[in-house]
Symmetry: C2
Subunit: 340 residues, 2 copies
């Protein structure tokens, strides 16, 4: 039986970012016939003919790949059976019907988690040191510190409260440990065994999390139940000198409340945000210009230089697929429908 054909429709930038030589070497070690397709295509009709001509069993691709036709035959030998997507949301690429018809689909899964955790640490350190304020003041307002009066804080020996305890929160733990922090998390759905594994205390309520920790990191998933679950009352309950960081989902936080609390607590609460209720953040958003808020444009992860991690993850999944083993981070119909 000939080795299955794997189609690799990638832009030159994607090929370079996702498959640096060491990662390409891992792909080359798999028993597949690689068929690279340089993107973009000259016209979109050629995409259909490429799929018909080469009849790939596997598709390995990223943002640049054109959508799969809804009437593509999938799921059987000699047809497309597996899409290993190198990025996050597959909704633009894969019509729901193809998954219904038996197409296997995976995405980057947790391969990007640690870069998001890294951004969380960056925003925590930024908040404690008020570095966002200082960088703006020094670049645009000729700023300099006011001697011993300038307030700076450290992460060392602080308490950190994580709202959510999934893969990203878990990846934060080793980054935080060297600072001798105490860490709790509020996540009713995560079992005790995971808390024990990471040496993290379970916070009994969101109220407890916000009132009893210096630094709150928002990482709860966005669900209807979690819409605006971070209320004005919770934000006001953060201790003086505390910090609130959101690297999760914007609409989990009542952003209007966040703006009011930030303005009322200019000197005793620092805020770091990578995500917002509306993205791109509107040019006239009141968040812009509040000095105790550090702003990033939803760049927590994955960083461009670590796209290779998602390719390595996809290659591991390919290996599982070829051996008939269960895939990691599979996009089932249930996952597909829940994705934002």
């Amino acid at each position: 039986m000939p080795a299955p054909v794997i189609l690799l429709p990638l832009t030159s930038e994607e090929a370079k970012d996702f498959f640096p030589p060491p990662v390409q070497g891992k792909l080359d070690a798999l028993p597949v016939r690689q068929l690279p397709i340089p993107l973009p295509l000259n016209d979109s009709s050629s995409w259909k003919s490429i799929l018909q001509e080469h009849r790939p069993e596997i598709l390995l691709c990223a943002w640049g790949c054109p959508p799969l036709p809804e009437d593509l035959p999938v799921g059987q030998t000699g047809q497309l059976r597996y899409v290993a997507y190198l990025a996050g949301s597959v909704k633009k690429l894969v019509p729901r019907k193809l998954i219904e018809n038996g197409l296997l689909v995976t995405n980057w899964g947790n391969a990007i988690s640690r870069t998001i955790s890294e951004c969380g640490l960056l925003l925590i350190l930024t908040a404690m040191r008020r570095a966002g304020y200082w960088n703006v003041a020094m670049h645009r307002d000729g700023g300099w510190k006011d001697g011993m009066k300038t307030v700076t804080q450290s992460l060392f020996c602080r308490s950190v409260g994580l709202h959510g305890f999934g893969a990203i929160a878990q990846e934060m733990i080793p980054l935080l440990r060297p600072f001798h922090v105490s860490i709790s998390a509020f996540s009713p759905s995560v079992p005790d065994s995971v808390f024990q594994k990471y040496g993290v205390a379970r916070s009994p309520s969101l109220e407890h999390l916000f009132t009893e920790h210096d630094i709150i990191v928002e990482l709860a998933p966005y669900t209807p139940k979690n819409h605006h679950i971070v209320t004005e009352k919770l934000l006001r309950s953060i201790q003086p000198g505390g910090a609130f960081i959101n690297i999760g989902r914007g609409p989990v936080v009542d952003e209007g409340a966040l703006i009011r609390v930030a303005r009322d607590r200019l000197n005793d609460l620092q805020i770091g945000l990578d995500v917002y209720e509306t993205e791109p953040l509107p040019k006239d958003s009141p968040l812009r210009g509040i000095p105790n808020i550090a702003l990033l444009p939803h760049i927590a992860g994955p960083t461009k230089d670590r796209r290779q991690d998602t390719a390595s993850f996809a290659i591991e999944n390919l290996s599982r697929f070829l051996q008939g083993q269960p895939l990691e981070s599979q996009i089932t119909l249930d996952v597909y429908d829940r994705a934002t």
Copy 2:
């Protein structure tokens, strides 16, 4: 023999920052008679009479303390024998002559190192993510990322080159380790045993350090030999996508060269600075406004909330003094003369 008198001339803010209850508890456990003197004094002449009246053997103080008179009797029983200074430079507080006459003096030593290391990590993460640029762009210019084209980088799996391998560089190692980085240092004066202890490779030259590592952290002491030792050639030799961080001393770097290189390499070199050739940084410094440079106003350390660490360190030294043991971080005449 009565317990020695320890004079504590402190402002209310100093007393609060340096001696929170757990640290005050450590001081209370020592066999000394504490004599708090609230600062500031009504007039400077009263300082001399306080010293004459109470004849302290020990002085524990910080920035707010008036200078010691040059003719103060020191070094013998019943005279001032030890000054445990809670901050850095003692030159304004202690005339050289008093050390010549046998006065023991210590300062904060390495108790502040870890907060400076923390700021180093902050500037590294900021540089990799271009967070300084983004925070300014979002606050002042209505900025938002340009989709997949936006370049972000991670510290994970990078190589870090430390110029200098003293206490601050050593404290950086545990903070960097969770990022799976490879670390080298260039520091001819530090013995192999220290490199081995921290698992850090010795870089054979400054040229090697700058060309062979992604991220360069400047931590060399400022000595006549090190003036402008970081030249334009070295800065230009940093790899594309690299970063240069200075949390050490400003004049170690040729700042004019740094400005030229930063402007020439807007997209492939990121820079993070806490120190400058001239401080405060002049309002018209060309460093202000260059988008690939993140600026902080010399706030690496110690942070206000960790002043308690320097008090704990001083109390350990006090305990050594009372037991007739050698002191840590003693300001000998040699150290005094070398201090900037």
